[in-house]
Amino acid sequence: MTALPTKKLEAWRYTDLRPLSGISFVAPPVGAAPALPDLGLPRLVFLNGVFNAALSSPFAFARGFAPVAEDSALPLAQINAEQAHDGATLHVPAGVDAGTVLLISHATGDVPFAFHLRHRITLGEGARLTVLEIAKGEGIYWHNPVTDITLAANAALTHIRVQEESRAAYSLATIRASVAASASYEHFTATIGGQLSRTEIHAALTGPGALAHLNAAQLLNGTQHGDFTTVVAHKAPGCASRQTVKSVLADTARGVFQGRIEVARGAQQTDGFQLSQALLLSPGAEMDTKPELEIFADDVKCSHGATVGALDEEQLFYLRSRGIPEAQARAMLIRAFLEAALEPVTQKEARTLLEAAINNWWVQP
């Protein structure tokens, strides 16, 4: 197996995978069928990394899994290619609006195990799709999914992920998206579960007018570590990218956002925007933000900003003075803080699911 990345690599400076290398992960056991939310949407269900037809419902645009060859500089994607034996392959032909599909991963086992799902999403010209991904589980496991996305001209993919993995899990997701002219990739990840988790997105804007929104909300407590890392490559003129990352960190949780924007020579009229805001709910919580701009064009509008703060006492008092109990007032302010990151989540079921997941977070110990 390809070696895990170490902190010596710049891209892994803030996320240490050593706890992972100390565990010997076995092949996944047969997964138990969980209670699944019935959202009335077509769904593809993977139990411990294996497609389960009985729990899934037909989706006209899903195909069978085919193994992949990979020669990647990304160690985790490389490991995935070596190990992957299942995943969703979605293909929406040109001009078709395929609606919304649920992609569910559920993991349970008594001994630590690893699974490496390999998803592929291809949208033809002008095609549309919303993928709502939910990852849950119990126990110790390592989930190492890779999702490769290809969007032809004018295609639009909305990709919403709700990461509610086991609190003892390692969840390391790699997403690569290639976005052609006037196509758009709208991404939102909610990082709620996992002992150690990372979402790493590489988005290449390859044709004029392509758009990528890569947003995230990280809600972490205890000793959780969550990392949202993005690399946006502006390879054509007139493309726009936006990243709004909101992290709410309690206890001694640690949040990471690394955002890199690369603007190639000739990618004029690039519009890049990046904002990382963290709310630290306890003195032991920590946020690391690393923006990186690498610009080789001259007519470019790129900005980034980062803030770290606590809940505003004045706002809290204002709410309480209106009779709202302290805990509820805090929850309201935290929810308000997240609002801007939730912008890509317009789809009704996705909203409902996400609101429930956020709500659930307050009541966690």
């Binding site: 006492e313 004045e314 706002q315 008092f317 204002y318 709410l319 309480r320 003075s321 209106r322 009779g323 709202i324 109990p325 302290e326 509820q328 007032a329 309201m332 302010l333 929810r335 308000a336 803080f337 997240l338 609002e339 801007a340």
Partner: protein, 247 residues
């Protein structure tokens, strides 16, 4: 009835309230005037339970209950409402959601039934209308991008919905145009009832033409230095506060 007895309060090392004595019987409206920095806003914050103020002496009894140990939300439920001198902006919090959450929190604590979205909206729309506010105020984020006068009206909207027993208006008139002033006064006068009382903090006699106080107090350097009938406001307007602080 509100009874403030020998109230001393400090922020850090600085004593701001230095023995305030003040009684507001039920059904009465009292005005508090006084120079900048006298402690008027401090008094209103101490009454509503804001953190950061240390009460070193004295007590505050509202309807027979010592309220100084209550958290702000319980004071609100008990009927105390502060209209802020500087209303706070809440980006990301919709005004309607805020109002409904507050109203239901207070109703719950007062043993009343909570309102569903439909019943609430009906109530809120009526209140918005009576304050001559645009209906889109309910849809906007709380106070975000509101003009100074609009923020003050939004305070009055909250007051109208929460129906307090004791309203403390901290310079609600400043920043209001003449028409808005009348609307605010109407809002306060509409609450007038045998079990409603108000403390109206203001720098200007003009508000008191519309909300006629039963008593006018002068707060200077952390103490009530003079109290008198509504004509006292006219006198202050003419002569200023000179000489009062020593009294």
């Amino acid at each position: 009835m509100l009874e403030i007895k020998n109230l001393h309060a400090r922020i850090g090392e600085k004593e701001i309230l230095r023995g305030v004595n003040l009684t507001v019987p039920d059904g009465e409206i009292h005005a508090i005037m006084g120079p900048n920095g006298a402690g008027k806003s401090t008094l209103s914050y101490v009454l509503s339970g804001r953190d950061g103020y240390e009460v070193t002496e004295g007590e505050v009894i509202y309807n027979g209950q010592n309220i100084l140990d209550l958290p702000p939300e319980d004071r609100a439920a008990a009927g105390i409402f502060l209209a802020f001198q500087y209303p706070v902006e809440l980006p990301g919090v919709g005004n309607a959601n805020f109002l409904r959450t507050a109203l239901n929190a207070v109703r719950r604590k007062r043993g009343q039934e909570e309102l569903d979205a439909v019943a609430f909206l009906k109530l809120a729309r009526a209140a918005v209308k009576s304050l001559h506010m645009k209906e889109d105020f309910l849809k906007r984020n709380v106070n975000v991008g509101f003009s100074g006068g609009e923020k003050k009206r939004n305070e009055m909207l909250q007051m109208a919905l929460l129906k307090p027993g004791l309203a403390i208006l901290d310079e609600t008139d400043s920043g209001l145009d003449i028409d808005a002033l009348k609307i605010v006064a109407e809002g306060v006068n509409a609450l007038r009832a045998p079990d409603f009382s108000a403390l109206v903090i203001t720098h200007y006699q003009r508000l008191l033409d519309h909300i006629v106080p039963d008593v006018v107090h002068v707060l200077a350097a952390g103490r009530i230095v003079r109290s008198g009938p509504k004509e006292l406001a006219l006198e202050l307007e003419a002569r200023g506060y000179a000489g009062l602080e020593a009294a």
